[in-house]
Symmetry: C2
Subunit: 355 residues, 2 copies
């Protein structure tokens, strides 16, 4: 992933205020809004002479669960770099180019990629950004269904789970950014799809807007094994794993012969100092199950194919999409925390500037 550097140093007339969200301290356990801070800064809307950088104006930034990992200090390097206290948070966002030294990017271009939680960001390596090919759709979609989480759903479901028509599919965190797309792709593939989510409102969304066959509120279930047996009397062919913990253990008991578990994430473990143990792994042998982790950034080469397919589904009404938009950078810390309480309904993002 490309690191984004703040627009800053350098002479030039166009210095503007640049509010930014920085990490205040490394986090252990459950994060709080107070672990982040909105600070004043300044940016120059020009690139250093001779560089191939661009300066972007940030329109929407995405809140993603994996950011929690970056808020902790890791002795051994993690799979993503740690954030640094005092420095701006970075993540995927939708941006407009406002200054460019790069031949492939011109002022006014709409792009998405790894940017800062601030108003303006200097991007030293704009090659890592994607141009937005479909600005006729809401630009914010490029933080979700048409961006990283959408591609995550697509890769995890098609490339990793390798679904067949008629498969029994279970999705956890099903109403979220990734889950809502997985479920709908599974329905389009001819699968039977059940989702779990953490509120009745979300369950309702799953059954209506997202057309899941069934859905349940896992917080109301006492015995997840029994719950899954009820929804999957024949067992589960594909479990799209977003949460880990107790749900994974219950799922393992209910996998079908030669089932597949694309491991997308385990959000229930991200704030634990020591992860919970998964006890039922022998089911992998007994049922010949494949469990496979993946990271979406390995698959950015498939983005353009995905984008065209997803745009078609959206325009044809074959995929519905729900997002949860926080307005303004000052709301960004709370919006990020919301992912871990489940307060978000649909894809969580922050509108930095709704131009």
């Amino acid at each position: 992933m490309a690191a984004a550097a703040a627009a800053g140093a350098g002479d030039g007339p166009e210095e503007v205020p640049n509010r930014r969200v920085v990490l205040k301290r490394y986090v252990t356990g459950f994060p709080s809004e107070d672990d982040m801070e909105l600070v004043a800064g300044a940016a120059r809307l020009a690139v250093p002479p001779g560089s191939q950088a661009v300066v972007v104006k940030n329109l929407y930034v995405s809140c993603d669960p994996y950011m929690r990992n970056r808020m902790s200090k890791h002795e051994d390097p993690s799979y993503v770099p740690d954030f640094v206290p005092g420095e701006v948070l970075v993540n995927f966002g939708v941006c407009k180019v406002v200054a460019s030294g790069h031949p492939d990017f011109k002022i006014g271009d709409l792009v998405w990629g790894m940017t800062g939680w601030e108003e303006y960001t200097l991007i030293p390596n704009p090659e890592s950004f994607f141009k937005i090919n479909h600005p006729e759709l809401p630009l914010s979609y490029y933080t979700g269904v048409l961006g990283m989480p959408g591609l995550t759903a697509y890769i995890g479901f098609f490339n990793v789970a390798k679904p067949k028509k008629g498969d029994y599919v279970f999705v956890s965190a099903a109403s979220g950014a990734v889950g809502q797309i997985v479920g709908q792709l599974a329905k389009l593939t001819g699968c039977y799809v059940v989702g779990s989510a953490g509120s009745d409102e979300k369950v309702n969304l799953l059954k209506t807007k997202f057309r899941f066959d069934e859905a349940f509120n896992y917080k109301k279930e006492k015995d997840l094994n029994a719950t899954l047996k009820r929804y999957f009397p024949e067992g589960i062919d594909i479990y799209f794993e977003n949460v880990g913990g107790a749900m994974l253990d219950a799922v393992l008991l209910n996998m079908r012969l030669r089932g597949r578990i694309p491991v997308c994430g385990m959000i229930s473990q991200y704030n634990k100092e020591q992860p919970e143990g998964t006890r039922n792994l022998f089911c992998l042998v007994a049922k010949r199950v494949r469990m496979e982790g993946f990271i979406v950034t390995d698959h950015f080469g498939e983005y353009r194919k995905f984008e065209e397919e997803m745009v078609r589904y959206l325009k044809e009404g074959k995929i519905n999409y729900v997002e949860d938009v926080a307005d303004g950078l000052e709301k960004a810390p709370a919006a990020l925390i919301a992912l871990f309480t489940g307060a978000n309904v649909g894809k969580q993002l922050v509108a930095v500037s709704r131009e």
Copy 2:
């Protein structure tokens, strides 16, 4: 898997004594010799008129860890049928046909397949047996390197782990029936191979007889994560999983990008009333690891190809093989228990009749 029925009922002159090992009671926790019993019986060396059964004389029977699962009573059916108290134990063995109603089997044929822990067994479905194509090698090899465990190593390593030359391979229970073959196949494939085992004698075997690059006695290691970091500074591409538990958790921390874990078994968990929890599963995501269970019986269709390849390796001295032979059915219960204390050195089997 074919169930074997005892040779018995029916008239005919050839009734002979038939000692047999029966399950005395369902087992919970660690099994003991006393959970089994050697009892006297009788067999007729003739097949029921008109049937396509055969009667076999059992020469060698195999002791395999999965038999522990069959000694417990399962409320929901397990992946293999439960043994029944008072009835003979069944498992893979090497046999000679002594009576046949089947056109494909004649008296004197040497075969291997699912038979009883007794002197003679009536096999109602001999089609499930393999003829022994290479009686010039020790017949007992067909309980191990040329039988079920050998094929397990072959399938788990080649079909599931999909090795490449230069891969870093780690094998647990490495001196056992499956492990010793996995390690040697990995060496033949050009991999770097480290094994773990539970005694210095076994470690020595691994480094000399089985030509592993390195080996260690896991019982002497205090911090398995540190141990693995020492043997695999670059990380592990393939972990051939035989034991589960603490070893699996340590391995997960040391997997390399796009590593593979063929899950063959988890013997450290077989005697636990509640399995231990595996905490480091998020490593599957961070390192894009595939963990995949398999059962050898699904792959019996590849047996003949495997047999020829393995016979060639054995004859060329490219694969060495160590077995641990208990003499006589009366030793069978102790030999089975030995698998769970690690008392066996190499493939554990029982010579029923060394004719």
